[in-house]
Amino acid sequence: LSIDLAKAKAYVDSFVSKIEPSLAPGASLLPASVKDGKAYEAVVLCDVVRHLVEDEDYEPTLHGEPAITLRAKGGEIDKKHPHFVLTHPDRPTLEAFTDIEFTTMSYLIDRAPAPEGRSHYHELDVLVVEEGTAGRPTPEEIAIAVECKATAFEKWQLRAVLGVRRELGLLSEHKLTGFAKWPTATVPITPASCLMLYSTASSVVEYRHAASTYGVDLVHRPA
């Protein structure tokens, strides 16, 4: 395939006129970038549930309300917020939430000082845990953790997700995750949580090798 500059510019003129109204942030107090991020989070939540249904044979039910309601700010597991319950004929029942803080490994290693400070928990955009998990889950309680980025990929995002990985577990021999194939059957991490960074940028895949060494899956998922 080939393209010339004049043809490319004509494409640009055409699509800008069509998407122009969509680009306006609107009158809401909600910053456009925050809404973009939350909307992508919803897309990824749906993608995670879809994979668990189609690849792992889970049966999903939405609990709490008939509509999914994402939280503007992260916090502890709160079952008043709508969440998915995922049942399986042979495995423990799972629950999927958004915007949940987990308790860091560094806090579990060195519990002082008390009470918990801000550095002792970090927010995850999408979280899958066994049914009945409460509060801020510990690394041992986490089945799937997902970070979502609806921006161009920048290298700090890789450094950040590697930091999350460090607070979720330690590098080890491969451990079973409890899943057959999605997100993955094993990870080189103890405790064996699956950690993914979903990005709208195709360039995210250029960093897969380094991430996979530490059991982090970088996923290109357009919005």
Binding site: I19, G26, A223
Partner: protein, 140 residues
């Protein structure tokens, strides 16, 4: 197209987005896309991918597609289909107002979803042409 053509194309895209009133958006997309010592053609790809992302998310199309799948495959605990996807702004200490935002709706209505969808298809087509441009080595 060679890399100098892609530099000119990038300038053209940025000018058109700014003329459309989205100066802040262009600033953000250009700053993020140009990181990491990328070539002009790679910057064009990164910029267009994120422009597409913003158009899909702010038009409500991306979340509407997610809702469509959920309505077909997920039951609520009372057996009804999922009714919507919202953001609760009440827990942000008043910063974002107090209420819920429908994430399947366009940020700034009125917006013809068909127009937005067509524009996004055209971005996809241009991205496909750029990624497969033999003159710059094809797929990157």
């Amino acid at each position: 197209m060679d890399e100098s053509d892609y530099a000119e194309l990038l300038s053209h895209i940025r000018r058109r987005i700014r003329e459309a009133g989205s100066v802040d958006l262009d600033d953000a997309l250009a700053a993020a896309a140009s990181g990491g010592n990328r070539s002009p053609s790679a910057i064009v790809v990164a910029y267009l991918e994120q422009l597409r992302t913003v158009a899909r998310l702010r038009s409500g199309l991306a979340v509407s597609d997610a809702l469509l799948w959920l309505r077909e495959h997920v039951a609520t605990h009372n057996g009804e289909p999922v009714t919507g996807i919202h953001l609760d702004t009440a827990d942000a200490n008043g910063t974002y107002g107090d209420g819920t935002v429908d994430l399947t709706a366009a940020s700034a209505p009125p917006q013809d979803p068909a127009d937005a969808a067509l524009g996004i298809e055209e971005i996809d087509h241009l991205l496909q042409l750029v990624r497969s441009d033999d003159a710059i080595g094809g797929l990157r």
